[in-house]
Amino acid sequence: MTAAPGREQLIEVAYLAATALFILSLKWLGSPATARRGVRCGELGMLLAVGGTLLHHGIVDYKWIAAALALGVIIGTPLGRVQMTAVPQRTALSHAFGALCVTLVGTAEFYLRAPDVPRFMMAVLALEVILGSLTFTGSLMAAGKLQEILPQRPITYRGQNVVNLALLAVALGAAAYLVHRPGQTQLFPAVVGIPLLFGVLMIIPIGGADMPTVISLLNSYAGLAAAAMGFVLDSKLLIIAGALDGASGFILSVNMSKAMNRSFSNVLFGAFGQEQPAGASAQPERSGRSATPEEAATILAAASRVVIVPGYGMAVAQAQHKVRELYDALTKRGVEVKFGIHPVAGRMPGHMNVLLAEADIPYDKLLDMDEINGDLPQTDVALVIGANDVTNPAARNDASSPIYGMPILDVDRARTVMVIKRSMAAGFAGIANPLYYLDKTLMLFGDARSFVGAIVRELAGAQG
């Protein structure tokens, strides 16, 4: 500490300001009106923190720092410009990067300090690298599944959970031994390596529909790993940023689990997809009523209140812009159109909102489940586009259903239900949906984008 004390204090003040700015940033993100101010605030905080850090007296060489910062900007810029439909995999990838950073710094810190690592320091270091490395590979796997590089179907085998938990136990055991005897540096690779493997195995049995929960959980882990790094480096700023990120991921995971009526452990160890064969064979021998775009357009034009329920199918078909045309055509005729969005619709929290906002639909028309369910009984037409399980009335009234108890959008309470779907096949979880066989339900078979486009053309034709 021979350098000018003034500089040290300057850095501390910069960190303090950054901390306040980070908290304000999240506070302003609370509502769409102030959210962009929140981003500016976060950017300013980050600038202060990084700028302050560069003044640090211990830094003797800037060459590598500058090169790495430049390379980071080069890689980060395209990642900030991906298509909105690719946001879930981008998010998973960024969890992986964050976790990679934390793991590498933790590893370097260990080898700089070993073999004289104080016990507490060793414990948080172990926590940092275990959480970091399992989040790294887990998030890469999640990104691979979302990008469809890897199979989206859950892959399960007998004894999977036992194997995974045993692996994690070995890693924790090695970490505990290191805390006890920090001189045993040869154990450290196991503390990093086993969780890397665990991260892969943890995501293998997880299917697409569980992604919102898993991404949130990985978000939480990435935050906690960063907070642990803050303990190791004795950096309050890092502890706070990590705690905020951890809290955010935790809240989102709890929301997602509740929206699926499942516990964390059930998501991680349950592998819903296993029920698929049984569900598919139990398909009843009924068929729903189907309708043409022309008929659908007539019914929609005669309605006064319409609720559109989008799901992952809308994202897959890239139908959001056609949906926006439908919204415009109906609104022009004086039909009131709202959107009902289930918390787990899509592949990450808030996925549908972003896609619909991208298509220029005003955000005050995007209502979440609790807001829209009160409106549905007074709704003339509920139009379901590419959503399935989140509209399944069996969740409400069939105690034998695997999704019984899950909160759903009560589209079956609307006067007429229209479902755009490729075929009668069961949804992701392989559960038959009785909604499709109701007398008030019309099935609109086809690709979401072209079907909505056809309805829009019919509406335009009828008017002109």
Binding site: A35, V50, G72, T77, V105, Y111, N255, A357
Partner: protein, 98 residues
């Protein structure tokens, strides 16, 4: 190496409470931007990596730290960029330019 454990734990606990209270109020509408913004803020880990590389204590720490800076910086830049792009799209209804 002094490690003020108790103070750090207090800081962590208080920050977690603030996080819960602030984030609970974020509208579900904005949950995707929330995740990308917290991700960008999490890239503050870059400060640890910068010091690690700058101090040049060992070849290993310089190499690992350099990769860490690249990873965190790309999160930082990409995270803020995409969050802002998403938020720009959220518009209320009412008169707007065509």
């Amino acid at each position: 190496m002094k490690l003020d454990l108790l103070t750090s734990l207090y800081v962590f606990m208080l920050a977690a409470f603030i996080g819960f209270e602030v984030i609970r109020r974020v509208s579900p509408l904005l949950h995707t931007p929330l995740m990308s913004l917290t991700n960008a803020l999490d890239a503050i880990a870059v400060i640890g990596a910068i010091i690690l590389v700058g101090e040049r204590k060992s070849a290993l720490s310089t190499v690992l730290g350099t990769i860490a800076i690249v990873a965190a910086t790309s999160n930082l830049v990409g995270g803020f960029l995409i969050t802002d792009r998403m938020l720009k799209m959220f518009r209320p209804s009412g008169p707007k330019k065509p």
